[in-house]
Amino acid sequence: MIDIYLDNFFSFFDRGGAVLYVVFFIALCLWALLIERYMYISFEYKQYRKNMMDEIQNNSYNARFKEEIKKYLIEESNLKLKTGLSFIKTLIIVCPLVGLLGTVTGMIEVFDVMAISGASNVKSMANGVSMATIPTMAGMVVALSGILFEKKLELSIKYNTDRLYLEISKVL
């Protein structure tokens, strides 16, 4: 059963050409980064927040610079949350572009075939056409799937930052 799916998978890549591998690589990077961010927010960040709150409660800071210190702490945690987010965004932007690249290289293939064997042989062009369409579709799918979770991630970062602000304000 798995063999059949695996076979389909590889023939899909064969038809998509080299650009499809690039799309696949981008998709892997994108999802690895997204998963890493979610893991960070749900596990490591909680630990970090707890440590910070402990430190604030145990220390007494110069009252003159209370606002500044609060700003510093929030900014620092925000920066930690946002690490890699812009890279994720870029990957999402690049995905359709790579798909477009696939379209164009596929069309070049089609026209090469046309120049050699004439316009009458439609079957021989099919290879180029599938090379043009499959990466485009794959690029779109990857970008759309990424955009959904990226927006959710942004929201959760904003929520976490706001919550931290409130919590620090209570103590400091």
């Binding site: 510093y72 812009s86 965004k89 690049v94 164009v104 050699i116």
Partner: protein, 440 residues
Amino acid sequence: MKLVVGLLLSVYSLFALNLETLLGSVEASSKQEIVQESKRLQEFIDNKQKQKQLLIQTKEALKRENQITKELKVVIEKNEKILAKKEAELAVKVGDLGEMFGSVRQTSSDFLTNYKRAFTASQFPQKEAIFDKFSDSKKLPTIEELTLFWHTMLDEIVQSGKVSQYPAQVVMQSGEKVEQTVTRVGQFAAFSDGNFLQYSSDIDALVELSTQPASSFQGGAEDFEQSSDEVLNVLVDPTRGTLFEMLGNNPTIMDRINQGGIIGYIILLLGGLGIAFAGYKMVMLNILDKAIKKQLKDVTKYSVDNPLGKIASVFYNNLKDSITDLEIKIGEAILKETNHIKKGQSFVKLLAAVTPLLGLLGTVTGMIATFQAITLFGTGDPKLMAGGISTALITTVLGLVTAIPLLFAYTYIASKSEEMVSILEEQSIGMLAKNLKQND
């Protein structure tokens, strides 16, 4: 005579002619002539009898010849009859064999056209003469010749299924003719020293392909030449050279770039500029980042060789001021530093945005060229349109290929500088203040 008279006349006319002397001499000469004529006439009359005799002789000869002709005609008729009989006999005897000779000629000329294009022709050039003889000959071939014919054909079939090594004339790319050891794989490929060859029937020699297949295939061919009985993979052309020929038509990357035209060059130029600038910016930001990170470890021991250190020095030197004064002073220092960090960042972004647009421009100009070709020549020849279309597609590819790395570079630069600016702008005062308390 007339000439003499003329001459005399002219001589006399030159020297105030004496007409009378002239008249005298003319009369004298005409008299002489009359005497001669009468003599000739006498001669004719004398000869008349002789002439008659000659005529009789000649008539007799003619009669004899006519007699001979008649006799010979009878012989010819007889011979012709015999010939017709013999021919009929031959036709009966040849029977179906006549057809066979026709098909021998046909087969051998067909075989010759194939053989002329085949790699085996380079190994056995003498075979061509044999087939040539059969296809041209008007004579009936003998049994021996017929046997030779089908033996040669059979030999050709056997040879075309073999992998063999033999010395042959090879025309190099430089044009010189060299004798080299050639390895031939059936009718599908031939190579020597890893270079793939093609058989040219025009010059009866193997010619080095002007565009060789990828170097990995050439290496494979070289291994194949040196091995004896191992099983090895080697590149062959099942279409007997057509695909190898097409290899020469296949555009290289340089050809492709040239197809992009002037817009393609502009895109590449901008792309190169953008990548170079982004690289410079990345190195610079990393150096600054390292200095700031080093300073972050301990802000109390500040040094003024990095942005954070400079801000720290302003902070510590003006600690006694009121909070607003201090903030203004620090703000000034921060502005100077962040400006330095952010500089040039938008240039990379601009280039990343402009190159796909230029690609689009190229697409449109290429399509315009294509449609011009269509209005001039119609859609009959796809090759006429191909020029414009390839410009259109290549510029798009170039635009995308330069834009994608530029986008990544911009992301890197932007996030790095954003991080640093955030450290300087938002965090620096708080960080310094936090440490201040602990020091007290």
